[in-house]
């Protein structure tokens, strides 16, 4: 706990309050499966929807052999780039490695 927080607690004569160290801003955004589901939903993002399975849980076997994620040279929509998912656009279809994402979740708290 930071010193100023401890001092404040002392002043308030409290052992705790909803104290938490915030992580740094928004830079550490991770791809929660619900985000992946939204990005993969045509009713939300239209034709740019990232392909995905309708189940929220990734197939474990495939995740065991991760393949290299393919980044599009310049993603048509930055959202897909920043979440590591390439949108599908006509013929320049690129496979999206969701597995890689899902295997990352399991390591996060």
């Amino acid at each position: 706990m930071r010193r100023d927080a401890r001092k404040l607690l002392e002043k308030l004569n409290r052992a705790d309050f909803a104290y938490r160290e915030f992580e740094d801003s928004f830079s550490e955004t991770e791809l929660w499966p619900i985000f992946a589901a939204v990005l993969g939903d045509q009713s939300v993002v239209g034709d740019d929807a990232a392909p995905q399975s309708s189940r929220g849980i990734p197939p474990i076997k495939a995740a065991a052999a991760p393949s290299k994620p393919q980044e599009p040279a310049s993603p048509p929509n930055p959202i897909f780039g920043s979440y590591g998912m390439a949108p599908v656009r006509g013929s320049e279809k690129k496979p999206v490695d969701l597995q890689e994402f899902f295997s990352r979740f399991s390591e996060l708290d």
Partner: protein
């Protein structure tokens, strides 16, 4: 003047609360504001200091005196909009229902798709409140049957009840911001002062003048004004708010 719809495919996201706050803000800016509650809950009035037992006049205007608080005229129409015949009639003569000399803030229930479909093409703005939760984000695909949420040009989002102490809340914020860009017009922090003010039937500004959410609400209201060009559309009935140019 303008119909502003509040409807979210998920209940409990703060539609009614935000509708009331926008109505109060616009009335404070001198606009003639009518707030129309189209929900069975009929809880919009509470945000204007009225008890749950307070009857609210119907939209058709046949019943009794006007109910006005803080410059906002309150009306309800849940009963009417349940009738197919009324919906059909409303479709034909919407301008007669919604006097164009006023700003109309309309609170539509989550489940009320027929009313949403009726009013969306005629509204200046459809405001959809979201929460930083999976249950709320999951309903983004229920906004329209004809177009993806991202392409709805009259629909904007407000991410409500943000709490930067919570990881999912922070991540949801940046996700929604990245996904929707300008379509996310404001965020409002979670603040218990909002519930406490409501429990006292008091305005937040009186009950908790330093509430963080108050700041956010002001920003939200200004963003709406700017979005629908209200700032340029000040009518003759309007008064000038001190500090205004």
């Amino acid at each position: 003047m303008a119909v502003i719809l509040f409807q979210s495919p998920k209940g409990g996201t703060g539609s009614t609360f935000l509708a009331a706050q926008l109505a109060l803000h616009l009335a404070g800016r001198g606009y003639e504001v009518n707030a129309l509650d189209c929900t069975f809950q009929n809880a919009l009035k509470m945000h204007f200091g009225f008890m749950p037992s307070q009857p609210v006049p119907e939209l058709d205007g046949v019943e009794g005196e006007a109910l006005v608080a803080f410059g906002v005229k309150l009306l309800q129409a849940h009963h009417h909009f349940r009738s197919q015949a009324f919906l059909r009639e409303a479709e034909r003569q919407l301008d007669r229902l919604f006097d164009p000399a006023h700003i109309w803030i309309v609170d539509v229930a989550s489940e009320d798709r027929p009313l949403l479909d009726l009013l969306t093409p005629r509204c200046a703005l459809h405001i959809c409140a979201l929460l930083p939760t999976a249950a709320s984000l999951a309903t983004l695909n229920r906004l329209s049957e004809t177009a993806p949420a991202m392409q709805l040009d009259r629909t904007v989002f407000v991410l409500n009840q943000l709490d930067d102490r919570q990881k999912l809340s922070r991540h949801s914020h940046s996700f929604v911001r990245d996904l929707f860009g300008d379509q996310l017009i404001a965020t409002v922090r979670r603040d218990e002062a909002i519930n406490e003010a409501l429990a006292r039937f008091e305005p937040i500004a009186k009950n908790a003048p330093t509430s963080a959410a108050l700041q956010d609400l002001r920003f939200f209201a200004s963003a709406v004004e700017e979005r629908i060009g209200l700032t340029q559309a000040v009518g003759e009935a309007n008064v000038t708010v001190p500090g205004d140019v």
